[in-house]
């Protein structure tokens, strides 16, 4: 019987996860692993992910790669998987606590946010003190990626975030407001419009991911503010990098879903063969798959790559 593994992503509607799936499938084929893939129907679909983990246990898989759609709610079921001798690796999103999984391969999401925050502050220079910031977050459930990026961005920008796990408890007057996007373009557009209504002078826009950024840009364009507003985002998908090139997005933090996937498959393979579990990065409670700031307007002191370079590395 060949070695089985599972990949469980949040949804099938986000290019990021689709890419991850492609990467994992390719790596699995190479490694001689039979990979089954699963996904929730929407971001936050806890039950489908639980059922998927259970099916993986039932089918005798050696390892599970999962991007938990709720970092806490899925802990019990993956604990059960581990008790059954299955290696569980979190991708992209950490569990809470992170050591609920055997390992995590993820972007340092706080760092990803911090980078774009620092970049935005540096780009504005002295004007950063008078910035008007819009924060376009994921959804009402505040999962870990959501607050890590949001709070990382604010930290990088120089805002006091108070509780770093709570979105929206800040009282810095430069923050115009938060709104949710569901990580989709139509959500991004409506959220941007709403915040513009609260203050038309917004000049810095943080977005949870690039689909949301694309929607936000449409709203700014429609309001005649295509120029002069900094949009920053996270992902580094090829469409997003092209948006950087086109000046739609000022800077984005690139993630490496293919790396997460291939690392994950590798880990399962070596676990199955040697029983060895992967180790975390130094000083972190996860394995950092790296993050790169992509911008065509680099600033002093923050290493970054240009969109042209980034097009070589991007995914999707």
């Amino acid at each position: 019987q060949s070695m089985g593994a599972c990949l469980i992503t949040k949804t099938d509607t986000n290019p990021f996860f689709v890419k991850m799936k492609e990467g994992a499938s390719a790596a699995a084929q190479e490694a001689g692993i039979e990979l089954s893939t699963f996904a929730g129907k929407y971001d936050g679909d806890v039950e489908t992910q639980i059922a998927a983990v259970e099916s993986c246990i039932a089918s005798g898989a050696k390892g599970i790669l999962i991007t938990p759609t709720d970092s806490r709610a899925l802990v019990p079921v993956i604990t059960q998987a581990r008790d059954n001798g299955v290696l569980v690796i979190a991708l992209d999103t950490q569990f809470e606590p992170a050591d609920a999984a055997d390992a995590t391969f993820a972007t340092d999401n706080f760092k990803a946010g911090e980078l774009i925050g620092e970049w935005a502050a540096a780009t504005l220079g002295d004007e950063a003190a008078n910035a008007k910031i819009a924060l376009l977050d994921l959804n009402a459930s505040e999962v870990s990626v959501d607050y890590q990026r949001d709070q990382g961005f604010l930290t990088g920008f120089g805002v006091d975030v108070k509780d770093p796990k709570d979105i929206g408890d800040e009282d810095d007057p430069r923050i115009v407001g938060n709104d949710v996007t569901d990580g989709s373009p139509d959500g991004g557009r409506t959220a941007m419009e709403n915040l513009l209504q609260v203050d038309p002078e917004i000049n810095v826009v943080y977005t949870i991911n690039e689909p949301a950024a694309a929607g936000a840009y449409e709203a700014l364009k429609a309001a005649g503010k295509a120029e002069g507003v900094l949009i920053v985002s996270v992902d580094g998908g090829c469409p997003g990098v092209k948006d950087v090139q086109a000046g739609v997005i000022g800077a984005t933090s690139m993630q490496f879903p293919l790396l997460m996937a291939s690392k994950g498959i590798e880990a399962i393979k070596s676990f199955a063969e040697t029983g060895e579990k992967p180790a975390n990065s130094e000083g972190l409670d996860f394995f950092n798959t790296g993050v790169e700031l992509i911008t065509d307007n680099p600033v002093e002191g923050i290493p970054s790559k240009t969109s042209e370079e980034a097009l070589e590395m991007c995914w999707g």
Binding site: P15, S184, P185, Q197, V198, G215, A222, K242
Partner: protein, 359 residues
């Protein structure tokens, strides 16, 4: 009269006095309280209810959120924001008037926008043709719903619960779960974004999409109220069996209604590309329930046969005004959800209260 053959030719004896019977019909007069009078006026013009609710909510949020809320700019923005759900609500109204319900409208719309995008952006087919293919596709999806409902005789709720899954799976498959980028559309098929163009008037920023929504409503209103087809649609929703017996081809009417609704969804698909600026399989996941919400707040009866399609337009606008107003007043998203829940209940309760008077 005695019971012998051929003796019964002049009616019963006891009926002979009928010629002298009173020819008047009963007429009763009585005083009405002002509330009852208002109730009657509204009863005779039921579309007034959502209009009044709309005006009231505008005034309330003006008071709460101030001039920024009541600006031409913001009002035109609300129009923009409701335009897509508004068009879905128009399609939904048609179906609800026939006593049906369509849980698949949003899936049809997103599916068609993906098809238009794939054809025009990736396959290089001229936008106009891509759009036409989308229109045909929308009508075909409606036709499929209609056939299941009329020929297989499945209840509309069940049919569209099923086809919603089917259309949703198809759109995931066709899109490969990828969004089509706004800039790619701009370069390869800018015409897909046509309805994103705006007309600036004073402070207002009216998109073509907002105007399209109004046109869609006016056209459907005309069809429903000024043509024989429209009378038949109402008759089918009112009492299908009676409509059948009085010589309406009810199956044909129902199929045509689902096709028109599917077509309207495809029109909304085109407009949504202009609105969102890109094409994403994850958009409008809640569009079905949102369109139903607009319809019921607009006072169209879920039992069919009653209500004006214009109500759905006002219903969609009321929801838009609430969302915008609450946001401006700095209310959390979660309390917006809460408020919409109460809005549905209160709006329909008022409507019920008014309908309780007989004409």
């Amino acid at each position: 009269m005695s019971d012998t053959p051929g003796a019964a030719r002049k009616g019963q004896e006891y009926e002979q006095t009928l010629d002298r019977s009173d020819k008047n019909v009963a007429a009763f007069q009585r005083q009405h309280s002002p509330i009852e009078k208002a109730q009657h006026v509204l009863h005779d013009n039921p579309t007034l209810v959502p209009v009044i609710v709309l005006i009231l909510s505008l005034l309330i949020f003006w008071a709460i959120a101030g001039g920024r809320f009541f600006s031409a700019f913001n009002l035109s923005l609300i129009m923009q924001q409701v335009s897509i759900i508004g068009m879905l609500a128009a399609a939904q109204s048609l179906i609800i008037i026939t006593a049906g319900i369509d849980l698949s409208v949003a899936a049809i719309m997103v599916l068609m926008s993906v098809i238009m995008g794939n054809l025009a952006v990736f396959m290089g087919i001229p936008s106009v043709i891509a759009i036409l293919v989308g229109f045909v596709g929308g009508a075909a999806a409606g036709l499929f719903n209609g056939l299941l409902i009329t020929k297989v005789r499945l209840p509309p709720f069940i049919t569209t619960l099923g086809t919603w899954s089917i259309y949703y799976a198809l759109l995931l498959w066709l899109s490969g779960a990828q969004s089509i980028r706004g800039t790619d559309i701009d370069t390869n098929a800018p015409f897909l974004k046509f309805f994103g163009n705006t007309i600036k008037m004073g402070g207002a920023n009216v998109t073509y999409g907002s105007l399209l929504m109004i046109v869609v409503f006016l056209v459907l209103w005309y069809m429903l109220n000024k043509t024989a087809w429209g009378r038949h649609v109402y008759a089918v929703g009112d009492d299908k069996e009676a409509a059948d017996l009085s010589g309406i081809r009810t199956d044909r009417i129902l199929i045509s209604v689902y096709m028109v609704a599917g077509f309207v969804c495809a029109v909304a698909a085109w407009a949504s590309i202009g609105r969102v600026g890109s094409i994403s399989p994850q958009s409008f996941y809640e569009g079905n329930l949102q369109s139903i919400t607009a319809v019921v707040i607009g006072g169209i009866s879920l039992f069919g046969g009653r209500g004006s399609i214009m109500g759905a337009l006002f219903g969609a606008l009321i929801v838009g005004v609430f969302q915008s107003g609450l946001r401006m007043a700095g209310v959390d998203v979660l309390w917006q959800v809460f408020a919409i829940g109460w809005l549905i209940i209160i709006a329909v309760a008022i409507d019920q209260w008014i309908r309780r008077v007989s004409a």
